[in-house]
């Protein structure tokens, strides 16, 4: 009886805790937006964060984009040539990268490379009571710490996704045209005929902006909300990576069903 009761209590506690944190995160987003004016006036703070979350993520984004493109080129050609349409390789590579793989994989990499770093940094600031000290000195920690990190991520993410997609298409071209020998003209012209700027590319960019907002908010919030202990920081980082990945995949499904709902 007692076991059941405690299990029941634990589930209830988890639910209220989750709702509580969701509400706090929403209020946190509101506060970040409210104090953004203050922190954008000191724009070098945001530029610093673009450097940390964007520039330092470039290497992993470029390399993994290239490899994803190489794999898409190999696998796509292998499947397409069974139907005698190896020339359509460019279409396959470009559409799958611009619509899905670009924003999603770049988002996942961004969450684990930059999001976790932001959480660790903010969490350690909280643990060493730097945030409280700022408050004491009448420096608003949300305007000084949270907002620049948030905006840095939101600006860096679409750029990273675009670089990822471009590198992926380059990888597909490398395998398809240079190694396998698909006709270069067919590769590019069929790609250009099939990929629409507004429908495919712009929707991909919108996706990456949404993922950027989600990942940055989760990263900053988890750092800000962590238990001020060593274990608390490590848990917050884990939560950042896990919930960012879940948020990206769930949001991707929602956005895809809005943007590319099957025709007719």
């Amino acid at each position: 009886m007692n076991v059941w009761l405690s299990a029941f209590r634990r589930v209830g506690n988890m639910v209220t805790e989750g709702v509580w944190r969701l509400g706090f995160a929403t209020r946190f987003l509101g506060l970040i937006l409210l104090y953004s004016g203050q922190s954008l006036r000191r724009v070098h703070l945001t530029i610093r964060e673009i450097y940390f979350s964007g520039v330092l993520s470039l290497l992993i984004i470029v390399v993994s984009g290239l490899f994803v493109g190489l794999v898409l080129g190999l696998q796509g050609y292998e499947t397409l040539q069974r139907f005698g349409s190896g020339d359509a390789l460019g279409v396959l590579v470009a559409l799958s990268l611009t619509r899905e793989l670009g924003p999603v994989v770049a988002g996942l990499l961004f969450a684990s490379r930059a999001g976790s770093a932001v959480t660790a940094e903010v969490g350690l600031m909280k643990t060493t009571e730097q945030l409280k000290a700022m408050d004491m000195m009448a420096v608003n920690p949300i305007a000084r710490v949270a907002a620049p990190r948030f905006w840095g991520g939101v600006i860096a993410m679409p750029l990273l996704a675009a670089i990822f997609t471009a590198m992926g298409i380059f990888g597909g071209w490398l395998i398809g045209v240079v190694v396998i020998g698909v006709d270069a003209g067919a590769f590019w012209s069929q790609m250009q005929a099939a990929v629409d700027f507004r429908y495919d590319i712009l929707n991909g960019v919108i996706k990456s902006v949404v993922f950027g907002v989600a990942v940055s908010l989760i990263a900053v919030f988890e750092g800000y909300d962590c238990h001020p202990t060593a274990e608390g920081i490590s848990r917050a980082i884990t939560r950042t990576v896990v919930s960012s990945a879940l948020a990206i995949l769930a949001l991707d499904f929602v956005l895809t069903s809005f943007m590319f709902r099957g025709t007719s």
Binding site: I50, Y51, G54, L159, T165, A166, D196, R198, I201
Partner: protein, 154 residues
């Protein structure tokens, strides 16, 4: 506030990112070959639209002049009503024939417009009078077998 080495890296990063976007826009995608912001819509009734989809191209002489907006089923005539928007710059006579064609053997289906000889042009909201349905492969094969059987009997 002075410039730092960090700024140049951020500058390079932003440039590369915007460059990648331009590469995607110019080299990978096409900024819709027809501009449909200024367009007029016409409708046509078809007995069978085959695999025609919304957003399929509307072509005349092989050039894309518009897109399919909407496909509905008309319960009065039991036919499919296809609504398409055509860019304002392309005008067609009122007796234009719309037919559903396939690009290549297994390619996507599109609407082909064959201009007629009427002096008046199509207006927004007009109904195309003469249409030609999609060719359904099964029916074609059925017809062929039927004709062969009839021929063998003779």
């Amino acid at each position: 506030m002075s410039r730092t080495t960090l700024d140049i890296w951020v500058g390079i990063f932003v440039l590369v990112g915007i460059g990648a976007l331009f590469f995607l826009a110019l080299r990978v995608g096409n900024v819709s070959s027809v501009d449909l912001t200024d367009a007029y819509t016409v409708r046509g009734q078809f007995d069978n639209i085959g695999g025609l989809k919304v957003r399929a191209p509307v072509k005349s002489a092989g050039v894309v002049v518009g897109r399919v907006n909407d496909i509905r089923f008309d319960t009065n005539s039991y036919r499919a009503v296809v609504e398409m928007s055509i860019a304002r710059e392309f005008e067609f006579p009122r007796d234009t024939i719309a037919s559903i064609l396939t690009s290549g053997l297994l390619g996507e289906q599109y609407i082909g417009l064959d201009p007629g000889g009427d002096v008046e042009n199509l207006q927004n909201g007009d109904m195309l009078q003469i249409t030609q349905s999609a060719i359904v492969l099964e029916k074609l094969i059925g017809q062929f077998l039927f004709d062969r059987a009839a021929a063998d009997k003779d």
